[in-house]
């Protein structure tokens, strides 16, 4: 694994999807569909192959030497040397440098691998859409953006990738732009992302301006490896970002998390994600399950040297994560739109990941990201099969009885549901239990956060099996549901592949020699993320695991009791606790609160500027000056006799005065 090879591989990985985007964009829809159907998924799968090559090349190296940085191009540099009377100054110097290490390769594998599967699926899903080419242009652009985000070794290009992802997601959410709701959802997502971007900008500024080297000199760097090398422990007397837990490093941690929260749909920047379900379903699978929304998890894990120095910021991250996980879980229990249930489920699961990286269980968080990418993409794509076959109807109340008509989709969706719920042997079980038991050992305010986290288990299995029961079991409740048919192979095979992955990937983190804390997956990431500061003892860990599994199975049991057997009334909660039901059904009223607190005041302010300030104050002041001048002009009108000699006389008089004054002043 030498630098040249990595340079070439990185260029291929980034270049292929970019080329796919450019070809589609520049031909403006004139390329035949057949070509695009091969090219769109082809470039992503090509990038996947190149990533695999990178991965293998990396595995050949010793574990301690798996990080490499290559510069793709020099972006800009404001430093000047000392010449021409100018003092040499170090300025802002940003390159597009790429970091290949276990963490970025893991992300790249998921982005191009799961992304490639979703691209193949999309060929079937949007086959009849007139904007076929535009769809693949944006999908490829999204892959490029996401790769820039995770591969960048420069704070600036991290931000660039961060914003490009926001744009690509906007373009895909608003893909069906003739629908007003899609346009609004796209705008909401984009603006929320820009709020996060600004947080990231400010965090980056603080790092750039304040990071000091070991001798206390200001480094003025945006190079991530340099930053991490200098933030670490032992360097914070003279250097780094000040003392552990200091105001500076805490501020940086929180500002970066604003960006992470916007991208990962965490409270308080979470409201865009459910609306984003306006986009085509493969988009939801790619963006709102597998990749984009996990960028926040990646960011915190990547910046863990900073969060380790900022316990307060990390605590905020953990609390926001667990809070969002619980809130989204509660909301998911009462929604009727199949995609929105999965969206809230995503929000909830990502909340758990954010909790994990907040408490310091970085590799547990990344493992949950990895398994979640498989089973959540599976759930979305299987839901996509249902929606496609029901002619874009997403309400589970009009479904029913689909298990007979769409047998394979039903099986795959159920596998996804089992994996999501954390039922043993499926992927989610391994990742979620590791995450929660780590949280038990590491979390602030132990064990309260763990209690909340483990109670999310029961919510999770309840809301997802509620969908399974209502949508797939029983009798068809609509014309469309009666005529539902199984999806074509191009949409079924990717779903089946994901179902296989969702079943087996969990075993990656098992050390078959016993329950050792370091396992295959964690040891792969260990050079970047380190080992957790603490792990629970075998007894505590085993008990926690048992409680978790019991709660997960309990959730399924409740669904069975409510929807299967009918021993518990469906109206129990709505009747006994109507406030809780309303709170959940209305998504805790966050949309309404934000409309009242931000949207309406800004719009009112803007209207006020247009209607009152501009015509009255600004133009009014101008008019006042104009009137004053006009009055003066009237007074002076008598001087304007119209005779040239009068003017000449006045001119000479004042010229004389001017000259005299000039002469007096100078002598």
């Amino acid at each position: 694994m030498n630098a040249t090879l990595i340079f070439v591989l990185a260029a291929i990985i980034l270049g292929l999807p970019t080329a796919g985007f450019l070809v589609n964009a520049l031909t403006a829809g004139r390329l035949p569909k057949r070509v695009v159907a091969w090219m769109g998924p082809g470039v992503v799968l090509g990038a996947f192959v190149a990533t695999l090559v990178t991965f293998v090349a990396m595995l050949e190296r010793p574990a301690s030497d798996r990080g490499i940085t290559v510069v793709l191009w020099h972006w800009l540099n404001t430093s000047v040397g000392s010449a021409g009377g100018v003092t040499a100054q170090s300025g802002f110097n940003a390159n597009f440098s790429v970091r290949i290490d276990p963490l970025s390769v893991l992300m790249m594998l998921v982005i191009t691998g799961i992304g490639g599967i979703i691209h193949v699926y999309s060929v079937g899903y949007v086959a009849d859409d007139p904007s076929f080419n535009r769809f693949f242009a944006y999908m490829n652009l999204f892959i490029t953006s996401m790769l820039v985000l995770v591969m960048s070794n420069s704070l600036v290009f991290l931000i660039i990738g961060w914003s490009m992802v926001a744009f690509a997601s906007y373009a895909l959410i608003a893909f069906w732009y003739e629908r007003k709701s899609a346009v609004q959802a796209g705008r909401k997502a984009f603006i929320t992302q820009v709020i996060g971007d600004v947080g990231l900008y400010l965090g980056a500024f603080l790092i750039f301006l304040n990071l000091r080297g070991p001798n206390g000199q200001l480094l003025h760097t945006v190079d991530l490896q340099t930053i991490f090398a200098n933030v670490g422990p032992g360097n914070h007397f003279h250097g780094g970002l000040g003392p552990v837990g200091g105001g500076l490093v805490t501020a940086i941690g929180i500002l970066l998390f604003i960006g992470a929260a916007a991208k990962s749909a965490q409270w308080p920047l979470h409201t865009w994600l459910p609306d984003a379900m306006e986009g085509p379903t493969p988009v939801s699978a790619l963006i709102h399950a597998a990749t984009m929304v996990t960028a926040g998890v990646y960011l915190v894990a990547r910046f863990h040297p900073i969060y380790q120095q900022a316990p307060v910021a990390a605590g905020v991250v953990a609390c926001v994560g667990i809070g969002t996980a619980f809130m989204a879980g509660v909301i998911g229990c009462t929604q009727y739109d199949i995609k929105r249930v999965i969206a809230y489920s995503t929000m909830s699961q990502i909340g758990l990941m954010i909790f994990a990286v907040g408490v310091g269980a970085y590799s547990a968080g990344m493992f949950q990201f990895f398994t979640h990418a498989c089973f959540k993409a599976l759930l979305f794509l299987a839901a996509g099969n249902v929606i496609h076959s029901l002619h874009d109807d997403q309400d589970i109340r009009v479904m029913g009885g689909l298990s007979r008509r769409m047998k394979w989709t039903f099986v795959c969706f159920t596998v996804g549901a089992l994996a999501l719920s954390g039922i043993p042997i499926f992927a989610g079980f391994f990742s979620k239990e590791e995450l929660l038991s780590n949280g038990l050992a590491l979390g602030p305010a132990v064990p309260w956060l763990w209690v909340i986290g483990v109670s999310v288990n029961v919510l999770t299995s309840f809301y997802i099996f509620r969908v399974v029961w209502i949508a797939f079991r029983g009798e068809p409740r609509s014309e469309n549901a009666q005529h539902a048919h199984e999806a074509p192979p191009i949409m079924l095979i990717p779903v089946a592949v994901l179902a296989g992955l969702a079943t087996v990937v969990g075993f990656l983190n098992i050390d078959f020699a016993g329950f050792a804390p370091i396992t295959v997956f964690s040891s792969f990431l260990q050079p970047v993320l380190g080992v957790p500061r603490a792990t629970p003892s075998d007894l505590v860990g085993g008990l926690a695991l048992l409680v978790g599994v019991i709660l997960s199975v309990g959730g399924v049991g409740i669904v069975w009791a409510v929807y299967g057997r009918g021993v518990i009334s469906r109206e129990l909660i709505p009747q006994r606790l109507p406030w809780l039901y309303q709170l959940s059904f209305n998504k805790f009223y966050w949309d309404e609160i934000y409309a009242l607190a931000f949207y309406r005041p800004v719009v009112a302010g803007a209207r006020f500027v247009r209607r009152a300030v501009e015509p009255e104050v600004i133009d009014g002041a101008v008019a006042g000056v104009r009137d004053a001048v006009a009055t003066l002009a009237d007074d002076f009108r008598t001087f304007q006799t119209g005779f040239l000699k009068d003017y000449a006389l006045v001119f000479f008089f004042f010229a004389l005065v001017g000259l005299v004054v000039l002469g007096l002043k100078l002598t």
Partner: protein, 591 residues
């Protein structure tokens, strides 16, 4: 460069304008051809100038002695250095100087003279890393405007002549290195612009033009007084009586640190303004009106709304940059202490422009007015960057001036397309046009994204550097300015989505398809025509190129930016020392 390229640059459009005057107005095809040829030649010359400038390594010492005059006072002491200087004596009152001697303009002879000071001014031209980019931008935008100009335009000949004359004025402002000459070009650009504004456009144009001319003339008057004031104040303090800009800049190094005096009122003491503060304010007023900065912007929305698209391309694209250029070239270098004294005021006005323009843009239903207010908001960033008085901010401002010129010109072209097709600019009446005009929608998308500061497009580079610069001075201002980025996303999406997305709407509430059909019947097409693609494509390509690879522009402007920062730091006790490459911990704590 062995030939006077800057003088030729000014002469070409002037000569082109004179040739056009002699042509009969009944030959529109020929007039348009000559106009395009002349602007293309001018653009070619600006490119030659740019390449010649880039050929000189930015930090090489030859920049200091590269002029024919060799060592001179201005070049020894001026912290800002100029390339390709050309100088011809114009008017002088001192008989002790041998007429037309090359050394005449050096300023040396103005030293130690008793008696009344000589009134010298000369035809002195030169460029630096700031102006060379703006000159290239001006060349490009005038060419774009010339190509845009339809030969069916009413009264084509006067339009073409006035356009070339305003190009002379603009290029003159950017190249002149003598205050009197600068003022001459400043006013000379104004006159044809006024006639262009009053002669072409919608029915509101008369009012708009009047507002514009009153505003700018008022600003110019103060500037004229201040130019005379600079002459005497600098002369009184240093003995150098001259209008020569490099000499004046150099002379400021000899101005002793003026301690801020105070006066007391009602028992409180307030800082009193010294003469340089007043001169700073007079210059700043003229430039603030030209930019325009809030609250001096009232002429802009009217002027931008009523103008014709080709006019707006160069008017919005380059003329507004002259104000920002003036801030850097004159306010920072001639009044360094005042620049620091007024830094909070100017940064505050910049931030106010950002937010006010963004809020106003958010509420408009007329898309041209949206673009106009967006322009105010974007230029607020430029002024904010200038008065950070540090390298990041100033570099950001320089590149942002170029970016803004490209983006605003493209925005007006896009909006103009809708106006030409549907005879309306109302967001209420238009919508869903992406379906009818996909190429237009694609180009417009890139332009709108550039306008909202999307990374890998040009504006991001400038805004990021400006915010970084502002953050160093005052994190609070940077945070408030960053709100402008969020609002920019909002109003740009509101405009872009309003025009192109949603269900297809038709002006006048008719059947959408029939309105599209009508537009096709009227102008033969609905999507972009060849001319529109030819003018938009290079602008879009530039947005992407600068966004992906801004290195070259920064590389060839950073040296001048550092010089301007150092020029502004003179006599203020602050300096680049905190940022110097080799530093020890003790020095760093000063920052």
């Amino acid at each position: 460069m062995n030939w006077p390229i800057l003088a030729v640059l000014l002469l070409v459009p002037l000569a082109g304008g004179l040739v056009l005057v002699g042509l009969p107005g009944t030959r529109p095809r020929m007039i348009r051809g000559i106009l395009i040829a002349v602007t293309a030649l001018t653009f070619g010359l600006t490119c030659v100038l740019l390449v010649a400038y880039l050929a000189v390594p930015p930090s090489s010492a030859s920049r200091l002695t590269g002029t024919a005059n060799g060592q001179s006072l201005s070049q020894v002491h001026s912290p800002v250095t100029f390339q390709f200087q050309e100088q011809v004596a114009w008017l002088h009152t001192s008989s002790s100087l041998s007429q037309f001697h090359p050394a005449f303009n050096e300023g040396n002879n103005a030293f130690n003279q008793s008696g009344p000071p000589p009134i010298n001014f000369s035809f002195h031209l030169g460029v630096d890393g700031l102006s060379v980019w703006l000159i290239a931008l001006a060349g490009l935008l005038f060419l774009v405007a010339a190509v845009m100009l339809s030969r069916k335009e009413a009264r084509l000949k006067p339009f073409a002549v006035l356009m070339l004359l305003s190009e002379v004025g603009v290029l003159g402002v950017l190249t002149s290195l003598d205050l009197v000459l600068f003022y001459f070009f400043w006013e000379a650009a104004l006159v044809p612009l006024y006639f262009l504004m009053i002669g072409w456009g919608d029915e509101q144009r008369g009012r708009a033009a009047l507002k514009f001319i009153i505003y700018t003339v008022a600003g110019s008057l103060f500037m004229l007084l201040a130019i005379i004031g600079v002459y005497f104040v600098t002369g009184a303090q240093t003995g150098v009586y001259t209008f020569d800009v490099p000499t004046l800049i150099a002379a400021q190094s000899f101005v002793a640190t003026t301690h801020q005096t105070t006066f007391s009122l009602f028992g409180h003491s307030f800082p009193a303004l010294n003469p340089q503060d007043w001169l700073f304010l007079a210059f700043a007023l003229a430039f603030a009106i030209k930019v325009p900065l809030f609250p001096f912007h009232s002429w802009l929305p009217d002027a931008y709304t009523s103008g014709r698209t080709p006019f707006l391309v160069f008017f919005a694209g380059i003329v507004s940059k002259l104000g920002a250029f003036g801030f850097i070239r004159y306010n920072l270098t001639l009044f360094p202490q005042a620049s620091h004294f007024f830094q909070p005021l100017m940064m505050g006005l910049g931030v106010a422009s950002i937010l006010y323009g963004a809020l106003a843009a958010l509420a408009q239903t007329d898309v041209k007015r949206t673009v106009a207010y967006a322009s105010i908001s974007h230029l607020g960033f430029v002024v904010l960057g200038i008065f950070t008085l540090n390298v990041e901010g100033l570099n950001g401002s320089i590149i942002q001036m170029v970016n803004h010129g490209i983006v605003i010109a493209a925005l007006f072209i896009c909006v103009g397309v809708f106006e030409a097709r549907f005879a309306t600019r109302s967001l209420r009446e238009l919508g869903g046009m992406a379906k009818a005009m996909p190429v237009m929608a694609g180009m417009f998308l890139v332009v709108a994204l550039a306008g909202l500061g999307m990374p890998l497009l040009n504006s991001f580079v400038g805004e990021f550097l400006i915010l970084l610069g502002a953050f160093q001075v005052s994190p609070a201002w940077a945070v408030v300015a960053a709100l402008g980025v969020i609002l920019a996303c909002w109003y740009m999406l509101r405009m872009y989505q309003g025009l192109t997305q949603g269900p297809l709407l038709a002006p006048g509430g008719g059947e959408p398809d029939s309105v599209v059909a009508q537009a096709v019947r009227r102008i033969g097409r609905i999507d972009l025509g060849p001319v529109e693609i030819v003018v938009l494509a290079p602008l879009v390509a530039l947005m992407i190129f600068i966004g992906v690879y801004p290195g070259p522009i920064i590389h060839y402007s950073r040296f001048s930016a550092a010089q301007y920062v150092q020029a502004a730091d003179r006599g203020t006790g602050v300096g680049a020392a905190g940022r110097a490459v080799s530093t020890v911990p003790g020095q760093e704590t000063a920052r």
